[in-house]
């Protein structure tokens, strides 16, 4: 307040002491910003100019017309219908879906493994905590690419051929060509099961809300977990038997030199998934450990003093506080895993980089457009994951005064 009062006085005593143009911070700021705009604009102009000249000289067309031209190459694994006559645009979608598939399953597996190992690291059993430590220190200090190569070339490429497959029962087979598992076959009437599942999920949502409200009002606890489990698992199972078991399993069978039927998981996918999950789990385990350790021991003691049993202490006191510390770094690990899935290109798993920024780029030569699209897609995925995790973080964070 006093400085505001003094300001006009200072001006009045030194009326002609207005700062020079280059000493006025505001004008200086304007000058530097204009300079930056000019420099960036100039750099972009030079780059665009050079690129156009270079492209013309090499006879490479520009524009996005190539997306509708036929691709003419096959792709090892595709979640949607794809054949060689499809367009380059379609290869982009196939690659993107493959990236999302391996990242999604990888995130789920890495989270599961990471939480188990992070908790094991804090075990009072010396052997368990040491083993978790050894796991963490080994896997996070070895390059991911090397781990992918190890699983692909040293483990999966060393498996026997189809006739000597490793098998569990007569339904799951593992050999050099991949993993074969039974696939469900949906016959007429199986939609009832789906409807039952949806009903179960919706019902459990309302049960949780009701139970929460009742606990707030009366203090009585309702066994929500078991009831919801019953609703979500039980309803579809009942529907399955009532409708006369319309879903059957198709088992893979050895015919000639290869397996037919069932679901085939290609070895490239397996190697990438295993390496990504194991590598990221080591980082997640450290995050989980530090998150749990960040909750003060007094919190546990206070909960016990209130008479909360051990399970409830964990669920209501420790985990909510630990999650607050865990979620932000966990988000960046999820982002890392998604970005690291682009290493697929080194072993030929058909992800976005391998299919689109690899084969399609080599065939069309339109590097600028393709690299631009690829980077934009990864940026978009990163942004979406951050937005979702920020929302989740906001929901989980403790509301303080």
């Amino acid at each position: 307040m006093s400085s505001e009062a003094k300001k006009p006085q200072a001006h009045s005593t030194m009326p002609n002491n207005k700062p020079l143009f280059w000493n006025d911070p505001e004008k200086r700021a304007l000058f530097f910003q204009a300079l930056l705009i000019l420099a960036v604009g100039g750099a972009i102009w030079i780059i665009v100019d050079n690129t156009l000249a270079n492209l013309e000289q090499r006879g490479i067309t520009t524009g996005f017309d190539f997306l509708s031209k036929p691709a003419g190459f096959g792709i090892l694994q595709s979640l949607i219908e794809y054949n060689e006559q499809e367009s380059y645009g379609r290869t982009f979608i196939v690659g993107l879906l493959n990236t999302l598939l391996v990242s999604g399953i990888g995130i789920a597996l890495a989270t599961l493994l990471g939480f188990v190992i992070g908790v094991a690291r804090l075990s009072h059993n010396w052997l368990i905590s040491r083993l978790a430590l050894v796991y963490i220190e080994i896997f996070r200090n070895i390059p991911l690419l090397l781990q992918i190569f190890f699983w692909y070339f040293a483990v999966l490429r060393a498996l026997p051929n189809a006739k000597q497959s490793l098998s569990i029962g007569e339904s799951v087979f593992l050999n050099i060509r991949g993993l074969y598992i039974p696939s469900p076959v949906f016959e007429a009437g199986s939609s009832i099961i789906l409807i039952a599942l949806i009903t179960g999920v919706i019902a459990s949502f309302f049960v949780s809300r009701w139970a929460h409200k009742r606990q707030d009002d009366t203090g009585q606890i309702f066994p929500t977990t078991w009831v919801n489990l019953g609703l979500i698992v039980g309803l579809p199972v009942i529907a399955f038997f009532i409708s006369g078991s319309p879903v059957s399993l198709e088992y893979p069978e050895l015919k000639g030199f290869n397996f037919r039927g069932g679901i085939t998981v290609i070895p490239e996918f397996l190697a990438l998934l295993v390496a990504l999950s194991i590598y990221t789990a080591a980082f997640i385990a450290e995050i989980v450990r530090s998150g749990i350790q960040s909750v003060h021991h007094g919190q546990t003691e206070a909960a016990h003093a209130l008479g909360l049993p051990h399970g409830r202490t964990l669920k209501l006191v420790i985990i909510p506080q630990a999650m607050r510390v865990i979620i932000p770094p966990l988000t960046s690990q999820y982002l890392n895993l998604t970005k690291n899935s682009s290493l697929a290109t080194a072993i030929g798993y058909p992800d976005l980089v391998s299919v689109f920024a690899g084969t399609t780029l080599n065939q069309t030569g339109q590097a600028v457009e393709i690299i631009f699209i690829t980077m934009a897609v990864y940026l978009l995925i990163s942004l979406l994951i951050s937005v979702f995790m920020n929302w989740y973080n906001k929901r989980m964070s403790l509301v303080e005064r």
């Binding site: 530097f32 080994i138 940026l379």
Partner: protein, 365 residues
């Protein structure tokens, strides 16, 4: 009356001391723990014994061809017979001393800076920052002072891994400092430029950056300028890494109490003077663990250059594995590369943890 004498204290129960006590508290504290300890112990032993057998007991160490491997265990002959290739790549054998000298000088100056209480640290750091890069370039690349020229396509192996990692981190640091200062700037244009720059590089995978550097960079410059393949990779890695570095620097800048900024302003120091004399010296000290962690990540990521056709340690071992004379030794090859990377990364992460503990004094309140 006899003076009261307490009885001599009994020794602690056998159950709670020595090996037995340790076992009881750490492995067999409850029935469940005992069962888990036994099962896990069995699994570990049944995996560890064959692994040690394979790697040491039944292994063959020296020889010239795969015929030397007769014992049935690991065939380390594959590594030992090609060791110099794995370390130096295709660098001419008579010139190995140049690589050795470069890295010995680098290691010596870093060690000098890391060990406490050594004199002339200022001069050593000036040498390491301003003189050493030129010395290293002249020594490694040659072509001056009567040294034979060794083009970068003959560089390879572990030496190339180190070159990429060290150059990447050294070039990314000043760029990262500028970006971090820009991100904290009051000027909206500069701030938004830095935010966009940082977030774009952090949002895309390194592979696409390397692809961009190797495919698009030649298109961006006039036809008559050509880029070396290694230089292209280095430019891509530096840009990518500078974004991560900027976030580390920003963390350091935010950790400086506001009073320090205000005190610098009150002394009438200009922006650059207050930054270089007050803020950055304090912030850089706190950033060292973060920088080391970034360096570890970069060190592991250098292995990606094999995708654009450079022969770093992993790429050169991978290439050697496809040699028809040495087929089927992929496990030995990968174990060797893993060990090399692991020793470096683990050592550095321990150093950074040590630093964190050491530096965690000044600003903790």
């Amino acid at each position: 009356m006899e003076k009261f004498k307490p009885l001599p204290s009994l020794p602690a129960p056998v159950k709670t001391t020595g090996i037995i006590g340790w076992l009881r508290t750490n492995l067999f504290s409850s029935p469940l723990n005992s069962v888990m300890s036994l099962i896990l112990g069995y699994i570990v032993l049944s995996l560890l014994i064959p692994a040690i057998n394979w790697a040491f007991v039944k292994a063959d160490w020296f020889g010239t061809s795969r015929d030397a491997c007769t014992s049935g265990g690991a065939c380390w002959v594959f590594i030992t017979s090609r060791f110099s290739q794995f370390i130096y790549g295709f660098y001419p054998e008579t010139e190995y001393w140049r690589v050795d000298t470069t890295f010995v000088v680098l290691a010596a100056s870093l060690a000098w800076l890391m060990i406490n209480h050594l004199p002339w640290k200022k001069w050593v750091s000036i040498f390491a920052v301003f003189v050493f890069p030129f010395v290293a370039y002249v020594l490694l690349h040659g072509g001056h002072f009567g040294l034979m020229e060794v083009e970068t396509h003959r560089w390879g192996g572990f030496m190339l891994t180190l070159v990429i990692a060290v150059v990447g981190i050294a070039a990314a640091l000043p760029l990262g400092i500028l970006l971090a200062l820009g991100r904290r700037s009051q000027m909206p244009v500069i701030k938004s430029f830095c935010v966009v720059f940082i977030e774009v590089w952090r949002g895309v995978p390194l592979i696409t950056v390397l692809f961009m550097a190797s495919v698009m960079l030649p298109l961006f410059v006039p036809q008559d300028i050509t880029f070396d393949k290694l230089l292209r990779a280095l430019i891509g890695i530096t840009l990518f890494q500078s974004a991560y570095m900027a976030e580390v620097v920003r963390g350091g800048l935010q950790a400086i109490p506001k009073g320090q900024y205000e005190a610098a302003d009150a002394l009438g120091l200009s922006y650059w003077r207050s930054m270089s004399m007050i803020i950055l010296p304090q912030a850089l000290k706190m950033m060292i663990p973060g920088i080391v962690n970034t360096f570890i990540a970069l060190f592991k990521d250098t292995s990606l250059v094999l995708i654009i056709g450079l022969f770093d340690l992993l790429a050169i071992v991978q290439a050697a594995l496809t040699d028809p004379k040495w087929l089927g030794f992929s496990t030995e090859g990968y174990v060797f590369v893993a060990l090399m990377f692991w020793v470096f990364c683990f050592g550095m992460s321990r150093y950074s943890q040590h630093l964190e503990r050491k530096l965690h004094t000044g600003h903790k309140r």
